[in-house]
């Protein structure tokens, strides 16, 4: 720390090309961004450049740290704020394609939306403890009766659960739900358990 009240003129660290053996701060910043490769001898062997590179490096790390610190300092998110945001969106649950049912009558169209089916699949997790469903996809032409359809589900399982057992239970539950609410020809239900996340609140409650 210095009592020097002058506009910054640091003797040791200089940032003009004369201090940097002909290089500019821009060049050094680019060099740093490129991971200091390919190695540039004139930069690496210049003490002035090294000082400036160190300073740039320090500065760069601090940017993210500043954001983290100020994020942590923000007040806790109010439920009224969440309501305010939700009131601004159209909650139509992404209807997607229309999945038909067989209709004996002409001029009568019976169907269920893809969005409703995805909601159904997500609801299946309630029957399978220890599992959280993420994204689900219906691949194949769901609008064509009888077309082979593949269900793909992303899920995460609670740490400690047996993954195959959990996957099987979910598969059974989803299969049951789809038979009850669609006439889809489901050829496969692929469940990808992508990560296992420890949920602290759960482990606390374990008997």
């Amino acid at each position: 720390m210095t009592d020097d009240r002058e506009v910054p003129e640091i003797r040791r660290l200089g940032l003009e090309p004369t201090d940097l053996d002909g290089h500019t701060i821009e060049e050094l910043a680019d060099y740093l961004d490129a991971g200091r490769t390919p190695r540039d001898r004139s930069i690496e062997e210049s003490p002035g450049c090294q000082l400036a590179l160190d300073a740039l490096q320090r500065l760069h790390g601090l940017g993210s740290e500043l954001l983290d610190a100020e994020t942590a300092a923000e007040p806790e998110v109010d439920p009224t704020w969440v309501e305010r945001v939700l009131s601004g969106i159209a909650m139509d649950a992404r209807a997607g394609r229309r999945i038909p049912f067989a209709s004996e009558e002409p001029d009568t169209d019976l169907g269920i939306t893809e969005g409703a089916v995805r909601g159904l699949i997500r609801a299946a997790e309630a029957a399978v403890p220890g599992l959280l469903i993420g994204r689900c996809r219906l691949t194949g032409d769901v609008t064509a009766a009888g077309a082979p359809i593949r269900i793909e589900i992303d899920a995460s399982a609670l740490h400690g659960q047996s993954i195959p057992a959990v996957a099987d239970r979910l598969r059974d539950e989803v299969d049951r739900a789809l038979r009850t609410h669609t006439e889809l020809n489901v050829t496969a239900i692929d469940i990808a358990i992508r990560d296992i996340r420890e949920v602290p609140t759960w482990t606390e409650e374990k008997p």
Partner: protein, 118 residues
């Protein structure tokens, strides 16, 4: 059919749909026809909350009916849809109105409350 008669018919159909076993809710339709009907109603000064949720539009060959519904999870959707179709047809027959087409879509399956875990 006048606009009022159309609205009355739509309300009657909506009532029949709601009363059908397996139906948990009636939703606003998102189809093009429905948008046009709502625009028309708005132009006439009908408030959104007073509009029927079921869409009824008149053509030369009869009425075009569209409804979007929510269903209970413990009843097969196909069964519910066919029951709704029968209910709608019953209303139309009572009113002496011919049906050109009927489009019924399940937009939500209402999950039953989870079983209590021992």
């Amino acid at each position: 059919m006048t606009t009022t008669e159309q609205a009355v018919l739509a309300a009657a159909i909506e009532g029949a749909v709601r009363a059908t076993a397996g139906v948990s809710a009636v939703y606003r339709s998102a189809s093009v026809i429905s948008h046009l009907l709502r625009a028309g109603a708005a132009a006439l000064g009908v408030r959104p909350e007073d509009e029927p949720l079921v869409s009824v539009a008149e053509t030369e060959d009869g009425v075009v009916v569209e409804a979007s519904i929510g269903v209970e999870s413990n009843t097969r959707s196909g069964d519910t849809l066919r029951a709704v179709r029968a209910a709608v047809d019953a209303v139309l027959e009572r009113q002496g109105v011919r049906r050109e087409s009927l489009t019924l879509t399940v937009v939500h399956v209402h999950a039953a409350a989870p079983e209590p875990v021992v």
